[in-house]
Symmetry: C2
Subunit: 361 residues, 2 copies
């Protein structure tokens, strides 16, 4: 089994990576908890629950295990579902020694984590990610729900007790879901680890069938980058912001198109290409962005901004980003491959480049 | 000006106590913030806002100051108002460098603090308590909203940057409101500081007119007890639970009677008398509880449980308390005046004593 240690000021824990781990959550949880759980609430979604909920539930013995299944999809990260899950936790009699298990992708991890962060002022939780994308979101303690006026606007930093990553379940994902998650893998190489990025470029030419040894290595390396950054800056006062490479435009694309039209990773890759081009203009990135764009395209990503979107609308949405301060747009850029920075950029500079990246009909 | 330093693992800050402080919040805030605020949202309620909101607002210069006024009363600590305040914060363009000012009693402090704890995963806030009761709730970082199934069930630990306590505003409170707050003052003496309790007993024979010098001393001493306990145990893993003396029964009384029938402090005093009698039976408290009960009565408190309440219903409600674990009732008791402990108590033991404390028609 592979392990990556996450050390933050508020908590240290491990990410366990192994095929078949979902069938051992109960026993493994006992190993990682300093104080035993009084009861468990597994939160999952309508896509994941039919596949894996019973296996995870049956891995617990001698413990009251409750379950809650939310609708799959970003729309569930709402105030309404948040309140419903808290009601479920109270009705099930959870107490301060109970543990919440988040079984699913980023949506489940984010909302279940926020329920754990706020139920009785915070109880413990375990992440059991089931998507490639969630290898990123399940690590580092960012939990949140959405507000109609913006994604992840309401949340906390609440670290899990452990992350149990069953690589077997990734093989039931669609290629689009692989693409969505792989964007964050590439991002980790781009902002911090050029050697990892080179390894990815030489090793991964298609997302259709990544061998399990390659997958394990890729996950361990990618999570290790996240671990480094989170250890340095748990609460995003500095370097953690680099993890948002591609996300300022990415989030705006998701918002303007409606969640689900582009996957998160597909939107982020368009944002990464944009940030790299802006980096060439503003902070000396000398890498050949065209080459990267071609690699992204070979992996099946669209790298152009959909033609019907207006640059002005995108900029307006980017201005509402959490990283925005005092009406400017603060972007994550690359000084070189592996070296990120943040920079305040004028909307004129952004507009000009946005227009250049728009898809030609 | 009097000051009490609060030192917790997550943050150190000060409580400032001075008459007229409300007119200086803006300037004082600048003094305590390491990084300047980008904008301010003052949250107040329908009783306090007409009296003091303008004065507080006018104390800020050169800063965008937004305001939100919620209905006075416990009913405002709801999911609905929580979401409305977050919407207000987003619409006002608050960002991660903004500061929320909670101007009001415990309800305003609790919900405004929870908004600050969760807006963009946590921004800074300032407590400006306007009631005696809030001398307790505004210190120590407990913030929350209520759930229909229980009080303060959804919340966080989020410490303020400072507490600005204007003693002048307390003199506009009704005697009932003084009583509500004074219960927590006595509680601090009971659990930690016998000399302070003796001073209170010899100095305070009526809550109708406490001289300002006495009030200042009382607040400083009472907040100092809270500061000691919070420094030892920020997140209520141990000694902080002692602050709940009288609250297990107190909360149950509030819940069963409906919030507002008894003030919080009035309910807590009934709970304190109950906990003291139980302490005599279970953990050797030798103090004469009758004498304390008579002092409480001289100060205007009812110390009996309203006759129409059923012991079984109260016990059922007490079982839903946050301190409950695995279906037992965990009570804060006194081994002696100044020395608290927690103990698991059977519902039979509780029932017998509850019946004895019921008011005789």
């Amino acid at each position: 089994m592979r392990k990556v240690a996450i050390k933050t000021p508020s908590k240290s824990y491990e990410v366990f990576i192994e095929a078949g781990l979902r069938r051992e959550i109960g026993r493994r949880m006992d190993d990682v908890l300093a104080q035993p759980a009084s009861s468990v609430l597994i939160i999952s979604d309508s896509v994941v629950a039919p596949l894996y909920l019973d296996e995870v539930k049956n891995s617990f013995s001698d413990l009251a295990v409750h379950t809650a299944v939310i609708e799959a999809g970003e729309a569930s990260k709402s105030f309404t579902v948040f309140e419903q899950l808290l009601t479920k936790a109270l009705e099930a009699g959870l107490d301060r020694k109970s543990v919440i298990v988040a079984l699913g992708g980023g949506v489940v991890g984010d909302i279940a984590g926020f329920v754990a962060a706020t139920f009785m002022r915070g109880i413990r939780f375990i992440q059991v990610p089931t998507t490639l994308l969630a290898h990123d979101s399940s690590v580092g303690g960012k939990v949140a729900i959405n507000h109609p006026l913006g994604k992840n606007m309401v949340g906390s930093f609440h670290q899990p007790e452990a992350v149990f990553y069953d690589t077997e379940v990734l093989y039931s994902l669609s290629e689009r879901e692989w693409r969505s998650g792989f964007a964050e893998v590439m991002k980790h190489g781009l902002i911090r680890k050029p050697s990892f990025l080179t390894w990815l470029q030489t090793t991964i030419s298609s997302l259709e069938s990544i061998p399990v040894e390659v997958l394990d290595e890729l996950l361990e390396q990618s999570i290790a980058v996240k671990a480094e950054i989170v250890a340095e800056d748990e609460k995003e006062a500095g370097v953690r912001a680099y993890l948002n490479l591609g996300h300022t435009l990415g989030h705006a694309l998701e918002t303007k198109l409606g969640y689900g039209k582009l996957t998160h990773g597909e939107a982020v890759v368009i944002g990464i290409v944009f940030a790299m081009r802006l980096s060439g203009k503003l902070c000396g990135l000398s890498a050949n962005v065209d080459d990267y764009e071609k690699w992204f395209q070979r992996l099946g990503y669209d790298t152009k901004i959909p033609a019907h979107l207006q640059a002005d609308e995108l900029i307006e949405t980017m201005m509402k980003d959490k990283k925005t301060e005092g009406g400017t747009i603060r972007m994550v850029l690359l000084r070189s491959i592996g070296e990120a920075t943040t920079m305040t950029v004028s909307s004129d500079e952004i507009k000009q480049l946005l227009v250049e990246q728009v898809e030609v009909d």
